[in-house]
Symmetry: C2
Subunit: 437 residues, 2 copies
């Protein structure tokens, strides 16, 4: 090989999980934010002065994609444990948000979440919250890749988004343009918290401005029952009538869906974020993710927020996802290799970034993590995908690179002042505690 | 306070989780392997030259109790993923064990497991495997507290235990007497793998020699169906006729139990190990742990083995336990404080060591862990029990003391040569791979 390898950043010596194959002792070169070379260390011609990341003893893989979260509410971690969904929302979360939500609350929530997400291997997250421009600002500071969804919750319109939708969303999309790794979406909360009229507005706006839509679909049976009573149809079918599924859509949950719903979601290749820990904790149901995938939908794995999980560790979420399918549909219902796809390439497709990230391929963004496999819980390792899903945790992530920039090296955060973030979060917690107890 | 505090080892500065109360800035003194003082740093009179463990920024709590595991099979981590229980046992696990099980296999399996367990906060484990005296030897080297169960699996008698039961078990109990922190039990595998005659022998031996019995009860519906066909009764009821429940018994699983079974297990205050990850992964059912507890049973949380989990992280297991109950019985079905009890004091009772360990009280064994709470995933922390169950992982455990000896300090293992263990496990994996692929 006489190819000149002019990449200035290299991830060296790990076992790389490439599409369809495993490459030991890999050398991955990065140029201008993208993967420019994939080879082995013995084949690599690394220019003098290149920056090297030591990945010996690691699995090197695409950064993880969090399909659904609300990073702006991270300061509510653990609030309302042990309540079912509707009581949790109406009795705990919404009242606290009405009292405390603010630009600063969203900003510091996302800063805290970014620290936790980088530490556990997430490089891209599909977000939804109030004051989402502030969440985007935090993500930009952290150097993360983000799909930022500005919420509309009519029943709890804490940031006043609902007062003038055109102004709100024009301003939102304009204000986040400055952030290189942030894409914006519309985020109407759900069918039960946004009127049909405003759903029509969302669809029109998305169509005109070529924006995606991210929302909660069929998270709980009461949502299904209400929709049937009110409209005589399932939420998926009501929204089909409005033309929603012609747009680029990512839905969260989809745990209560009929075969007809699944066919609609599959036909339109909708992105679905599966959030097993949140679904289990709030006592809902199991999403039929294999049926959805067979029908054509793209499934990501998501953590939901720290208030219904209560962490943002996607490798732990993957463990729940695999076991929940086995539990509901029988052992073997899903393979570890499929879960890996959902965490990476398929997850990226589900959030609208399939062309950009999600796999180690030349030309894709350099969103790369190295997972340490030298600990006792990593041996024996007969199958690296099994290790990632069933044995590893986010705490094994050693290095992380996003868009070619090192955001964590040897467990040190490079873009964030973690101590300041933890201090700010603790100060917020003190203020919030008075409302909680 | 003028009390002389002559303890030579102190755990200082953490937030201690004591029975019924939380003590900030705690000072815990240890003398002769036991907790001798519980006070605050400002009240403590620490003798010059005392050894101090810095627990500032940590929750200080009783070491975790693993209610059911097979550490000797740790070298089979991840073997047979995605198979249902009976196929997993008969097609993968039993054939591999027939080929590879040996004294060395059990010893190195337990060495590996001890490294992983100490790293994730376990101080006591209730074990069951072939060549269990070798497992006990490894646990003794690690300095862990262990209930060692010598197995009998008639259908796969790889260590020849079944040839002469008297000789096998006399030898077993005699050979482990030398290990200070090891208690022995009889471990007949299950009702479907041990004949009624041998069950009678087990019960007789247990009664005569005052030994406990540890086995798999009602793990899967086929076990229930077979028992009903063969004996016209559930496994619990068949064993009741034999007088089993008059003995000191810990059962694993109990996922398929009738109301009559629950009444029997409750009446005899049987120990039950709940192993949610294994149950979900092998596609079985949810143990009715709240009904069992209400009836009088003592419930521990267990990881089962690395072949059906695939790690030994009890804090992660606690997360599964809490969410699986919420999922099956509704959010709020179990409280985080109850899960904490099952991980500690109630877990110790379930494995027959309730007098010895499981709580931070003067006179109890000094089995103490310190869990770091300075990371971004630990803030805000409105409730420390919620944090432990839903946000933390075993990787947050910073220090561990067992019976007054430091086994991990600042994430460094003090009793084990971790690199040697990982090397040995990797060498075994190479040999096993030929049988697996």
């Amino acid at each position: 090989m006489s190819e000149r390898m002019d990449a200035k950043l290299w991830v060296l010596g790990g076992t790389a999980l490439l599409p369809g194959r495993v490459l030991p002792d890999a050398a991955i070169g990065i140029t201008g934010g993208k993967i420019s070379h994939i080879t082995t260390r013995s084949q690599a011609q690394i220019p003098a002065g290149a920056r090297k990341i030591d990945a010996v003893g690691c699995l090197v893989m695409p950064g993880l994609i969090n399909g659904h979260t609300h990073t702006g509410m991270s300061l509510l971690r653990g609030i309302g444990d042990d309540l079912p969904l509707m009581a949790w929302l109406n009795e705990r979360i919404f009242p606290l948000e009405r009292k405390h939500a603010s630009k600063e609350f969203s900003y510091w929530g996302t800063m805290l979440a970014c620290a936790e997400m980088i530490r556990s291997g997430t490089t891209t997250f599909n977000d939804m919250y109030f004051f989402e421009d502030e969440c985007a600002r935090a993500s930009d500071e952290a150097g993360m890749r983000m799909v930022a969804g500005q919420s509309l919750v009519e029943t709890s319109d804490v940031d006043g988004s609902g007062k003038n939708l055109d102004a709100t969303f024009d301003h939102f999309f304009e204000s986040i343009e400055q952030y290189k790794l942030v894409t914006g979406t519309l985020a109407p909360h759900s069918i039960y918290s946004v009127s049909k009229e405003n759903w029509k507005w969302m669809i029109g706006y998305a169509e005109t401005n070529k924006k995606g839509i991210h929302f909660h679909l069929s998270e709980v049976m009461s949502e299904m029952d209400e929709s049937k009573q009110k409209y005589g149809k399932t939420p998926t079918q009501v929204l089909a009538e409005l033309g929603l599924w012609e747009q680029r859509v990512t839905v969260a949950h989809a745990v209560c869906v009929t075969p007809e719903d699944i066919a609609i979601l599959g036909k339109h290749r909708v992105g679905v974020s599966h959030n097993p820990e949140s679904n289990m904790k709030l006592g809902t149901l199991v999403a039929p993710i294999q049926e959805l995938r067979k029908a054509g939908a793209r499934v990501a794995i998501g953590t939901d927020s720290t208030a219904s999980n209560n962490n943002l560790d996607l490798l732990q979420e993957a463990d729940f996802a695999a076991k929940l399918q086995a539990f509901k549909y029988g052992a073997g219902a899903i393979k570890v290799e499929e879960i890996f796809q959902m965490l990476t390439a398929e997850g990226a497709e589900a959030v609208g970034l399939g062309e950009v990230t999600g796999s180690l391929e030349v030309g894709k963004a350099a969103d790369i993590i190295a997972v340490d496999i030298t600990g006792p819980h990593a041996v024996p390792m007969y199958n690296p995908y099994s290790h990632l899903v069933y044995s590893a945790s986010g705490r094994d992530v050693k290095h992380s690179v996003i868009n070619g920039a090192i955001v964590m090296e040897d467990r040190n955060l490079m873009t964030l002042d973690e101590q300041e973030i933890v201090r700010e979060a603790a100060a917020w917690a003190k203020r919030l505690t008075q409302s909680v107890s």
